[in-house]
């Protein structure tokens, strides 16, 4: 294109543009161009994530040193194909260029410079996107990525020819290896307004793009053999049978690794906090502060941190998988399975992640572009059996199928299946009613296959872990303190039973020290049971008796239901306190034995009858018993109403299903 080309909005002399050090650089680019890898290369760990005000779009802000003038801020914008699409990501990109939106903590205003990342293998689309940004007349540097892949495909791109025509720096970079990074840093201090930009019409854009492409990438060689191999992989990975097999294999491997590896750091965290609790308990003098720290704060922090290994590992593995290019192909396989329930293929990863913990699953739903489909995925994600449910399943299945391991295993599988079925049916219901709308039919770029970047995966894991801690951590801690308070207050005196045991222990202490010690343990347990029974949690348990009586729940089970709202696994430790009087009994067989023989107030009827145990099991499979997940739902949807709906709906479904389970058991037995 010449300077007189009518497609140019404004041709300016490059010398007119401001050059020199800049304060904020905004990174723009199409998806899969290596933009985020480049951002990670530029900023390293000097980055943080936060949502753009009023949106659920995450802003990644980091700093980098470009020259002697100190650090420069770098903002990574979401990858979009066009800034003129209707999606929130495109709108946000547009607003940032207009200066009407700013990343959290920054003042609104146009960025000082823009770095547009263009994939050399998709030069036309990259140039089209560059043209949209060039119209804003901001200083630009073009980072040309994937030059090596382009070469393999027989495409030669000449950055200097492009630079000459555009009038702004064009630098070839390889973010994965770091090649071209020094040149890019240097160029970012000399960003310039392009001397040319396309007009608004489609014909103008095409002409502008054609002219630039002709100048910079005139020659096209024959297709290389490596590309033919990758096409064969495409066919295999998206095949209805082979693709499904590969998909099942990879996902099973991923979750095997996740559960296998994450167990170790989770155990270490729990062990470290058990020691920390002992240390704090030994240092702080007995009293309210002591009890608060040992019973509320330390377990609360542990309760938040214990999820961190699973979340970080999950996102580390997913990032590696995504980087290989496989996930885009897998989305088409998942699409065949989920489409009939109104969910897109991209919902598969959030739903699969929710089997570890619903919180990262809900956060992962950000990858679903259609808002209604994203909401439906978020609403159903907590139906998937998370790892916090497993101790509850283990307890109840042990009670129901004592000495019958095959049936116990089958019941476990049934719990997982029930969660999945409830989830997909709920999605179908939601997409047919409150989230009715046209389904998005998959159109996905299939990025080149490549070796994954461990560095990018580590940074992603770190970033997602921090997002979880910031979003859910304070609430988990706060709710842990509230639960502690409910189980500790109001404080009551020691019951007669324990006083009597202590008196007996004192009488035989010298003659029979072992028996005396055993009596004192019994006295402690009696006091714990008494304290919990008379606490606010105990009172709530009694107050809820009319509500849960149809399910066959005793008031003591109701205490477990109330306290496990902090985290489902708390149910087991609460049952240990209620029936044994010792929280540590939750680790062993003691709680199962105590629960099996525990009787109701009449002294005859068992607490865990078959009907009540089945009802409790079904209730825990389906109920929204997780405060942290509700908080994350509210944050990710941008409204508390979805969290309220999620809680109400899941609790209602769980209640009715538990009722049906109990009466089915009664009828069958």
């Amino acid at each position: 294109m010449t300077s007189s080309t009518p497609t140019s909005v404004a041709d300016t002399d490059p010398s007119d543009a401001d050059a020199g050090p800049v304060g904020t650089i905004a990174l723009f680019g199409n998806p899969n161009t290596g933009k985020t890898t480049l951002f990670n290369r530029l900023t390293g760990l000097r980055q943080k994530s936060a949502n753009y005000p009023g949106t659920t779009i995450e802003a990644h802000i980091g700093s980098t040193t470009l020259g002697p003038d100190g650090p420069t801020r770098v903002v990574d914008l979401p990858g979009v194909y066009s800034i003129h699409l209707q999606g929130v990501e495109s709108t946000l990109c547009r607003q940032v260029l207009e200066g009407s939106a700013a990343a959290p903590g920054l003042l609104a205003g146009e960025p000082d410079a823009v770095c547009v990342v263009v994939d050399a293998t998709a030069l036309r689309e990259g140039l089209r996107f560059l043209g949209e940004i060039a119209r804003f007349r901001l200083p630009i540097v073009v980072a040309l990525t994937m030059l090596d892949v382009a070469r393999r495909r027989g495409i030669e791109v000449d950055p200097s020819a492009l630079q000459e025509r555009l009038g702004c720096p064009v630098i070839g970079v390889n973010p994965r290896k770091g090649d071209g990074l020094p040149e890019l840093r240097s160029a970012l201090t000399e960003a310039r307004v392009p001397r040319t930009a396309p007009g608004a019409s489609e014909a103008d854009v095409r002409e502008w793009v054609d002219e630039l492409q002709e100048r910079s990438s005139p020659s096209v060689d024959l297709l290389q053999p490596s590309e033919r191999v990758s096409m064969k992989f495409d066919r295999a990975f998206t095949h209805p049978v082979i693709g499904l097999g590969v998909f099942a294999l990879i996902m099973t491997g991923l979750f095997w690794l996740l559960f296998r590896i994450a167990t170790y750091p989770m155990d270490w965290i729990e062990g470290a906090f058990a020691i920390a609790g002992d240390v704090v308990g030994g240092v702080v003098p007995p009293g309210l502060i002591h009890d608060l720290l040992v019973g509320g704060v330390v377990p609360g922090i542990a309760g938040a941190l214990v999820f961190l290994p699973q979340i970080c590992l999950l996102f580390f593995l997913l990032s590696l998988l995504e980087d290989t290019g496989y996930l885009a192909r897998a989305a088409f396989v998942a699409d065949r399975l989920l489409r009939r329930f109104g969910l897109p293929g991209t919902a598969f990863i959030p739903l699969l992640s929710s089997h570890a913990c619903a919180i990262p699953g809900i956060i992962a739903a950000r990858s679903i572009p259609n808002r209604r489909e994203r909401l439906a995925t978020i609403l159903v994600a907590p139906f998937m059996t998370c790892s916090a449910r497993l101790p509850v399943y283990a307890l109840l299945v042990s009670l129901l199928f004592a000495g019958r391991p095959a049936l116990a295993a089958l019941a476990f599988v049934g719990c997982y299946a029930l969660g999945v079925v409830a989830g997909v049916l709920t999605a179908l219901l939601a997409r047919g009613t409150i989230l009715r709308g046209p389904a998005t039919h998959m159109t996905l770029e299939l990025p080149s296959y490549k070796a994954p970047s461990v560095r990018t995966a580590l940074l992603t894991a770190y970033d997602k872990g921090m997002v979880f801690l910031r979003k859910a951590g304070p609430y988990i801690l706060a709710f842990s303190i509230v639960v502690w308070w409910c189980t500790e207050f109001p404080r009551t005196g020691a019951p007669e039973e324990s006083q009597s045991l202590r008196t007996q222990a004192a009488q035989i202490e010298e003659a029979q020290p072992d028996e005396a010690a055993a009596l004192l343990v019994e006295a402690d347990r009696a006091e714990s049971k008494h304290a919990l029974a008379n606490s606010f949690a105990g009172r709530m348990g009694r107050a809820l008796e009319p509500v849960f009586a149809p399910l066959g729940f005793d008031w003591r089970l109701n205490i477990g239901v109330v306290t496990s709202f902090a985290a489902r696994e708390v149910f087991v430790s609460t049952i240990a306190i209620v029936f044994v009087g010792d929280e540590e009994a939750a680790e062993g067989e003691g709680v199962i034995e105590a629960a099996r023989t525990a009787t109701r107030s009449d002294g005859e009827t068992l607490v865990f009858t078959g009907g009540a145990s089945w009802a409790l099991l079904v209730f825990y499979v389906l109920a929204m018993q997780c405060f942290s997940t509700l908080v994350v739902t509210a944050k990710e949807t941008g409204s508390a109403k979805w969290a309220v709906l999620q809680f109400t709906y899941m609790t209602a479904v769980a209640y009715l299903a538990a009722l049906a389970a109990r009466y089915a058991w009664i009828a069958l037995s």
């Binding site: 003129h84 998709a122 036309r124 089209r128 027989g154 495409i155 066919r235 065949r336 998959m442 159109t443």
Partner: protein, 95 residues
């Protein structure tokens, strides 16, 4: 040539072409040129931004569900399309 909105009366220039077929009907290995996109505005814009616009030359690597095409005559971006989307794209076969 322009993209057509769904339910809009097609122009003669595209619909009257005897060699006009939908992308979903093209066999694997075929080369084709996109002549019409029959979808709503947003989908047209998305496809166009991804590179699947009028006059784009594509190579079909996989037919069916999903349909996989390469842009720029087989050397550009590779895109996977559900069958429903592939049916919205009308092409003419190239020799």
């Amino acid at each position: 040539m322009t993209s057509l909105l769904m339910n809009e009366t097609p122009t003669d220039s595209t619909e009257s072409r005897p060699d006009r077929v939908c992308l979903a009907c093209m066999p694997r290995g075929a080369r084709a040129r996109v002549i019409e996109v029959e979808a709503d505005d947003e989908q047209c814009a998305t496809l166009s931004a991804m590179g699947l616009c009028i006059d784009e030359e594509v190579v079909i690597h996989q037919a069916g569900e999903p349909t996989i095409v390469s842009l720029q005559g087989g050397r550009g971006r590779r895109i996977g399309l559900s069958l429903r989307v592939a049916r919205c794209l009308h092409v003419v076969a190239l020799s």
